[in-house]
Subunit: 430 residues, 2 copies
C-alpha cells in the first residue's frame, strides 16, 4: 500500500475536487431544484450526549461530557442535546455545567412529555427542550399506556409552560413510522398551532425506508408551518439515507451522534451524514463545519465508550481512501475523481493506492517505482509487476516485499542482467 | 446488562414477531403494492470473493475461498461471484476449483469487457460472466480511453461469444450514476436486444442517493426486458438503502459482500441488506436464507481479512439487541416489538436489557430481581433502583455491581432492616 505522492498530485487533486460541483448540473440523475429540499441548508442536532449516552458502553463523566460538548461546538454543530436532568442527579448537574460553558451551539435537553420533567429541565439553563412521547399503538399499549387525547392535552400544557419560560420547544412522537397517520398529523397540527419551534419525526425502531420517509415528511411539510426535526435509528442500515431523504422532503433538522452511538446499533452518524451531504452540497457543508476535526472527534468518543472506529466507517474507516484493484489504481493515479467522490484532503486525511497484491496493475507499480526514485521503461515496469503478482499469488505480501522486488529488479537492470532475479528472495538495493 | 428470561418470554416473543407482517397492512407509510417492486423476490449475487478481494486487507488463499464459497452456498445465496481469472494464475486456478465444488449457487466471474479475458473465463467452468466497462466521462478519459461506439461494439462481440458458449452473461457499466443517461440507455438497449441475461447498474464511487437510484432503475426498467443487477458502494453510507430502492424500482439482483468488504469502505453488506429485507419481506427472506448462519459467516470473513465486526453492525454488532434507557427497557420487557423491528431469535442471537446505569428504570431492575430468584414489592424495587442509579452516577458499574446491590438490599429486607445498606460495599447473599 503506498501513499500517493502528494507533493506532485495534491494541487491537481484540489482542482479536481473543487470543480466537482461544476460538473454536477450535467448529471441527469441529480434531482432538479426543489423548493421543498433542505439538503443545502439543514441543521444538525448533535445527540452524542443524549442518544449516545443510551449506547450500551457509554458512561460519560462530567469532564468527558464537557470535552465532547466543546469539540462538537468547535466542529460547528447547531445544537447539542443532553440527557434529561430527570434521569439522575448527576445528569442534572452536568446539564447545568454544560449550559454554563458559553458555547456557540444551542443546548437542548431531551425530556418526556411530562410537566415534572419539564419543570426540572427549564431550571438548568438550557436554550430549549426536546419533548418526546410514544404515539404508536405498540408504545401506547406497552409503554406509557396513554391515549391520544391525553397525549395531546399533556403536550399542549408542557409546550405552553416551556414557551412561557422563553425557551425553544420541540415536540416529537416516538416510533412515528408505526403510528396512525391521522393521529400523528392531528397531534402535530395542534402543537404547531400552539407555537412549537419544531415537530419531530422519529424512527425509533429503525424500520423506515427512504421513500417512506420522503412521503411522510412531505405530507407533514404540508400540515405544519414550524421546522421539522428527524431522528433515525440504524437497525436496518438506512439511517443516513433516511436522513437525506427527509431533508429532500423538507425536513430542516437531523439528529446525529458521533459514530452513530445510541440505543441498540444507534442512529445517523455525524461523520457519515456529512459524507453524504458533502457530495450533495459541498459549499454549504465546507463553509459550515470544520471537516478536518471529524477524525479527532470520533477518536475522542470512541475512546470514551471503548469501541474501535469500524473498519468500514465512512471517511475515517482505515480503508475509506484505499484503492486496490489494478483498474482502480491506474485511474486514481490519473485522476482521483475517477474512483473517489470524496476528497480525503477535505478531512485532513490521505489517499492510499494498494499495489502489493495479486490484483495489482502495472500503473500502480509504475507510480511506486517513481516514488522510490527509480527509472524504468514501461516494459520493465510490466515485467516487475508480473514478479510482484506471482509472489502475491503465493502469500500475502507487504509494501516492503514489493519494494524489495522492485529494487532488486532495478539493480539487476543496472548490472546489465536480463531481469531474471528471483522476486521471492530479493537483494535490497540501499 | 442482563439477558432476558427466554424461558419465560421466548414463546411470546416468537408470536409477536410472527404476527408483525399481519400488522403491516394497517401502516399508512408502507408503499402500496407496486408491480415494479421486487422487494419480495430479489436475488443475491454474493461478491465477497470478487469485490471483497479488492478490500485492502483481503488475501484469500484457495482453502479460505472454498470455505467462504461453501458457507455462502449453505446460507442460500443465488450466485457467488469470483475474481477474474485474468487477474492472476492463482485466481484462475481458484475459479476452476470452486466451479468443481458442485454448489447449488451459480458461479460467476467478473471480467473486463475484453475478448481475451472472456475467453479465459469461459474455460474455467463458471455458469456465467459478469462483464463490466466504465462508461462515465471520468473513466472513459482517465481509465480505458475508449468512446461509446467502441464500448458498444466490443460489448456486443463479447456477449455473443459468451452466449455461444451457453453461459449466462451480464453487462454492466461502471460509475453508472456519473454516465450520460442517453449513452447508458442506448448501450443497455443494444445489449438487451443482443440477449444478455442481466444489465448492471453500478454506483462505483458511492455517490448515488436513494431517490436517484429509484429514478434511474425505474427508467431502465422501461428500456430493457432482461433482469437488472445493482451494485452500490458505501462511501456516503447509503449502500443498503440504495439497494432497497433499486428493488422497489424493479431491479432483480443485488450485489453484496460479507460485512460489506470491498474497494475503499466497501459495498452493500449481506447481513445489513437482509436486516432491511427481513423487515419488508419476512416470509420471503426467512424461507430462502438460513439467517442463523449470518454471524458464523461474518466471523469467518472477519477473521480471514483480520478485521473486527463493527460495534454497530446491523444484527451482529455487539449491541444490536441491547436496550438501555429506562423507558426502552420497561417497554421491551412488556413486549419486544415496542423497540425492536428485528427479532434476535431469527438470527440465533439474544436480547439484552441493560440495567446497570444511571439511565436505569425500575422495571428493568424488577426483571433482574426476578432473574436472581428474589422477591420484592414494587416499592422495594424502586428503592434499590435508586441505589443502583446513585452508584452509576459516580462510576461505570457492571452487572456484578448491580447484582451485589440488589442481593445486599434483599438480605437487609430479610433481616428486617430498613434497607439502608450501603450499596457501594455490598455483602453478597449466597
Amino acid at each position: 500500500m503506498c501513499q500517493t505522492d502528494n507533493s506532485a498530485s495534491a494541487p491537481n487533486d484540489l482542482v479536481a475536487v473543487d470543480s466537482r460541483p461544476v460538473t454536477r448540473p450535467s448529471n441527469p440523475y441529480q434531482p432538479v431544484g426543489d423548493y421543498l429540499s433542505n439538503v443545502g441548508r439543514f441543521k444538525i442536532i448533535e445527540s452524542t450526549l443524549r442518544e449516545g449516552e443510551q449506547f450500551a458502553n457509554a458512561y460519560f463523566d462530567t469532564e468527558t461530557k464537557i470535552k465532547i460538548a466543546k469539540a462538537l461546538d468547535d466542529f460547528g454543530v447547531d445544537y447539542i442535546e443532553l440527557t434529561s436532568p430527570a434521569a439522575s442527579e448527576q445528569s442534572r448537574l452536568d446539564c447545568e455545567a454544560i449550559c454554563k460553558l458559553g458555547l456557540k451551539a444551542k443546548i437542548l435537553t431531551h425530556v418526556r412529555c411530562d410537566m415534572r420533567d419539564a419543570k426540572l429541565a427549564v431550571e438548568t439553563g438550557v436554550d430549549g427542550l426536546d419533548i418526546v412521547i410514544g404515539t404508536s399503538s405498540f408504545l401506547r399499549e406497552h409503554s406509557h399506556g396513554k391515549d391520544m387525547a391525553y397525549i395531546t392535552k399533556t403536550a399542549l400544557e408542557v409546550i405552553e409552560f416551556v414557551k412561557s419560560k422563553g425557551l425553544e420547544v420541540r415536540f416529537s412522537s416516538e416510533d412515528s413510522f408505526r403510528s396512525d397517520l391521522v393521529d400523528l398529523l392531528s397531534l402535530y397540527s395542534a402543537v404547531d398551532k400552539a407555537g412549537v419551534n419544531r415537530v419531530g419525526i422519529a424512527d425509533t425502531v429503525g424500520c423506515a425506508s427512504p421513500r417512506q420517509v420522503y412521503d411522510l415528511v412531505r405530507t407533514l411539510r404540508g400540515v405544519v408551518s414550524c421546522d421539522i426535526e428527524t431522528h433515525f435509528h440504524n437497525d436496518t442500515g438506512c439511517a443516513i439515507a433516511n436522513a437525506f431523504c427527509a431533508l429532500e422532503a423538507g425536513a430542516t433538522h437531523v439528529d446525529t451522534s458521533v459514530l452513530g452511538i445510541g440505543e441498540r446499533n444507534g442512529i445517523t452518524p455525524l461523520g457519515g451524514l456529512l459524507a453524504r451531504m458533502l457530495v450533495t452540497s459541498p459549499d454549504y457543508v465546507k463553509s459550515k463545519y470544520k471537516l478536518h476535526l471529524i477524525k479527532e472527534i470520533e477518536d475522542l468518543v470512541a475512546e470514551a465508550v471503548e469501541v474501535n472506529t469500524p473498519f468500514n466507517n465512512p471517511i475515517t474507516g482505515f480503508c475509506a481512501f484505499t484503492h486496490k484493484a489494478g483498474i482502480h489504481a491506474k485511474a486514481i493515479l490519473n485522476n482521483p475523481s475517477t474512483y473517489e467522490i470524496l476528497n480525503p484532503e477535505d478531512f485532513g486525511l490521505t489517499r492510499y493506492v494498494h499495489f502489493a497484491s495479486r490484483l495489482t496493475g502495472w500503473n500502480a507499480v509504475k507510480t511506486r517505482v517513481g516514488q522510490l526514485g527509480l527509472v524504468m521503461t514501461d516494459d520493465q515496469v510490466k515485467e516487475v509487476t508480473a514478479k510482484i503478482k506471482a509472489l502475491a499469488d503465493v502469500r500475502p505480501i507487504a509494501i516492503d516485499d514489493a519494494d524489495s522486488i522492485i529494487r532488486s529488479f532495478h539493480l539487476t537492470l543496472q548490472n546489465g542482467h536480463d531481469g531474471q532475479t528471483n522476486g521471492a528472495a530479493p537483494a535490497v538495493a540501499a
